[in-house]
Symmetry: C2
Subunit: 243 residues, 2 copies
């Protein structure tokens, strides 16, 4: 593991990349302790602050964790699905909000992905998943619910649907797509009638899931996508008119 001293810029980035490669390529394995900061600064022939900046970069990506005290140090982290999901949600959220991705595009991607796990979820969903979805449907029909709370409940509903597929990789991938859309969804104001229609579709999806009817789940999702797109179109049209 060596770095390029002829390019005196971004030493900490180079060091971070070198260590990251070692982890990705398996030369550093999970729970293995990295050399101490002092030792690393000797190896790379840089100062300790520079090494620390590199380590912080890796910590930000959950590639390492640090412990203080004797026999402490930096350890290769076994990245958890939760940590990976959190990162992906942050990244996806920023990507959608900063790149002016149209609501239409994001919505299409989200429902396409969700339909992808409909067959698996119809086959494998447990009673718990169904109960979670029913509970959210019930919450959504409460009067006096704010739009934001309605959206949050919607996200929980869909995550239960996705988790029902019983595939953690799928859940991890989809959490980003579903949660990242929440800020966009929050721009929509739902009338009582809108909510009733969405709730009806949620019930249709839950029923189909209970019956194990994958095709009907997918159809329900498609209908929900159409409804959502129509709502958004309406909101943006009104906004354009007003502005």
């Amino acid at each position: 593991m060596k770095i390029d001293h002829s390019n005196p810029a971004d030493l900490s980035a180079q060091i971070a990349a070198a260590i990251r490669d070692a982890i990705v390529e398996g030369r550093l394995i999970v729970d293995e302790r990295l050399p101490s900061e002092a030792e690393l600064s000797e190896q790379f022939e840089v100062s300790r602050p520079t090494v620390r900046e590199a380590l912080k970069r890796l910590a930000a990506q959950s590639l390492i964790r640090t412990q203080r005290g004797a026999s402490g140090g930096a350890f290769v982290n076994r990245i958890s699905f939760e940590a990976a999901q959190a990162q992906q949600i942050t990244t996806s959220t920023l990507l959608l909000s900063m790149n002016a991705v149209s609501f239409e595009t994001a919505c299409e991607a989200r429902f396409s992905l969700e339909r992808a796990c409909a067959p698996l979820s119809a086959e494998r969903r447990t009673a718990d998943h169904l109960a979670a979805m029913r509970a959210e449907i019930h919450r959504q029909s409460q009067p006096g619910l704010t739009d934001e709370a309605f959206c949050a409940s919607d996200v929980t509903f869909h995550r239960a649907l996705v988790d029902g597929a019983g595939n953690p990789v799928l859940s991890y991938q989809l959490a980003g797509a579903v949660e990242a859309m929440q800020p966009l969804m929050n721009m929509i104001t739902f009338t009582a009638r809108d909510r009733a229609q969405i709730i009806a579709l949620h019930e249709r999806i839950a029923d189909a899931l209970e019956a194990g009817d994958a095709g009907e789940v997918a159809d329900g999702l498609t209908a929900l996508e159409g409804e959502t797109q129509a709502l958004a179109k309406d909101v943006f049209a009104k906004r354009a008119k007003r502005g």
Copy 2:
């Protein structure tokens, strides 16, 4: 933006979180310049190295970029699809390799997601996408191709299929799933007969895509999934026997 000095641990993490929240919540907008490191260290009442560690954490997530020189500084970054994809691939790859995700689970997730964009790709793929896929099929049939090169070509083929959907959000999401599987795929050794079968399925998929037959694309993918799973099962069974 304030931090908790009563908890004197992880000051840089707290600062990073505070700035990240400001970005995510839109209080700091794209291309806006953050205060200089000296000013930030005054605001947060910490030293400059601590501020720098916080900024490096954010830079590692592509949330900010830094420029040297007068009128330089740290700027809120417009995260690109490429950068987001690169991060997601790194995260997904580590997640798969370190969490002992079974090949079966990863494969199932990947093909489920890919089937999700089959309808869109069948409808929208351009001649370029088709040409790219045909080119990869041709490459795959070259004799003397290493297993790794064969896998790399396979990834390119599937990325063309996904890109054909014309939805950048979908492409971004799927790149992680497809590329992260490559290390797992590289564990497989392909016989000439295996390759012939895979190539035949690739041709079937390309043909269906050319004809705009979404159902047939999905069926081709399902067949390919079955073939891949069978191959993997075989490899792992032999390995278990030998070991």
